[in-house]
Amino acid sequence: MFEQLNEIEVRPRVPEGDSLVAVSVRQLSLGYRDNPKALKDISVDIPERAVTAIIGASGCGKSTLLRCMNRMNDLIDGVQYSGEVILDGLNILNPDTNVTALRRRVGMVFQRPNPFPKTVFENVAYGLKLSGGASTRELEEQVEQALRAAALWDEVKDRLDDSALKLSQGQQQRLVIARALALEPQVLLLDEPASSLDPTSTFRIEELIYELKQSHTIIIVTHNMQQAARVSDCTAFMHGGQLVEFGQTETIFTFPAKRETEDYITGRYG
């Protein structure tokens, strides 16, 4: 965590303004039928309004960790977990937590774009309509705002009533991001958001992430190390369900503290 950094740093660093912690994970362990030790005793503090990348080989538990943040792991049959995940002072792993409210504050974007087979407008308005009560006028405004935030408005403003499935892959992924943004979440979880996209779309998404981090806390899981390096402020390296190292991305990629991290990042892994 942050203590390691201070030992190594020699050059004066540009001070990050007041890094508050958005999500605090404390001794989180998780298991399910097929994998009883999917996560082992993980503790990490995710900084607010910054991009944190989680990297590691396949099966190391990065997606599982991500999904703990919005309790999506509850969908797995027979899942059990211990430890705490603290958001705004509350432990969201508590059985009393209002899970649907949580998922509005912690939005998620998946690996393959998965828009509903509805119109563009209805996709973005989906979450808004669930909470109900908004007039059509308000809905239209919120949808436009979300699409603008996802850098998609100009491309779809004349096609709001077209099927969402007619958009290109890159556009669909941005649509899905708009859909999540419409609920104005505090935290945005991105699970390999660009892995099914072509390089240009990938860069667009990365630009988008860069803009979004000014107002949202972003946690991104990626198996593309260069992307993690380009896009994130902090990086967490996981291996075998454990958190091996966590620190500023610059440090992780120039001088990681652990041998395993170095091996993975430089391609000596395996």
Binding site: A101, L102, G107, F110, F116, K118, G127, K129, L130
Partner: protein, 340 residues
Amino acid sequence: MGSNATIRRRRLSSSRYERIRSLAMIGLSASMVSTVLLIGSGLFVLLVASAGDWLFLSSGRLDEGVLDRLNDVFFAKPNLENGLTGLFPAIVGTFSLVMVMTLFVAPLGVATAIYLTEYARDTWYTKLIRISITNLAGVPAIIYGVFGLGFFVYGLGGQVDALFYAKRLPSPTFGTPGLLWAALTLALVNLPVVIVAVTEGLDALPNDLREASIALGATKSETVFNAVMPAALPSVFSGLILATARAAGEVSPLLLVGAVKFSPSLPLASRAPFIEFEQKFMHLGFQLFDAALFARLPPGGLGWVACIALILVLLIGVLNLIAVSLRTAILKRKTFENPF
């Protein structure tokens, strides 16, 4: 140069046996498909020819005009001697039967399918239920007829009579075969079909869809209602179309639970609920059955049977057309992409 040619040749003729086998497969499937098509179209042509013969050419009827003949086909009064009768009541009866059956089978079938796919946990119990449903689809329809007779007609019907129509006893109102019990029985016959069709449709939906909805803060029910169901509508319609065809053509259960050869009145009423549920009714399939096996038809009467069959086929065609247009209209309006 020589070695390249050898390599290519070797790849293509990987095994003479395999080539013969794939050619045989293709040939077999092609001939099977063409045979089926030939037989099907052949039968249809035969049907039309027979019906046409009855309508226009049968001896002894040349003094009547074609229009009179057509009028007879639909509206003639029942002739108790030779079993001929106007088919219009049968058409109405078949149609009402299908409508009422759909009213029962659609919500029940869809709800069951949704429950099994979305809500039920994957235990041995639910597996058992699924297997049973599939098995039920193969049970001969006459058995449903027997069940319908015992449970609906005498069981439920008897109770309803005792409770609400006691004054009319011993003459039964609902305690006897009628439209309602026939519709319910057919609903049971078709329930497995609809459930299986809708289940397939739901299973085919990618899990992404549900996850996306849940991640946006929807509850399970909201997800099913807003995301899953709309996407599964095409399969719902497919299931209903199958059910429709079966309802129009399935005869054996109806023998026991409601269809009659001649009915004095249509099962319709002029005031709500516009359908007389306790009435017996005429049914095209039933007419066909009866005419083919029991009636003492006049010479050339086989053409009459062909007429009934033709009208039945056309009616099924019309019902299907209605269902398909309905499906297209709904899908167009919501601008879906039809996965089927």
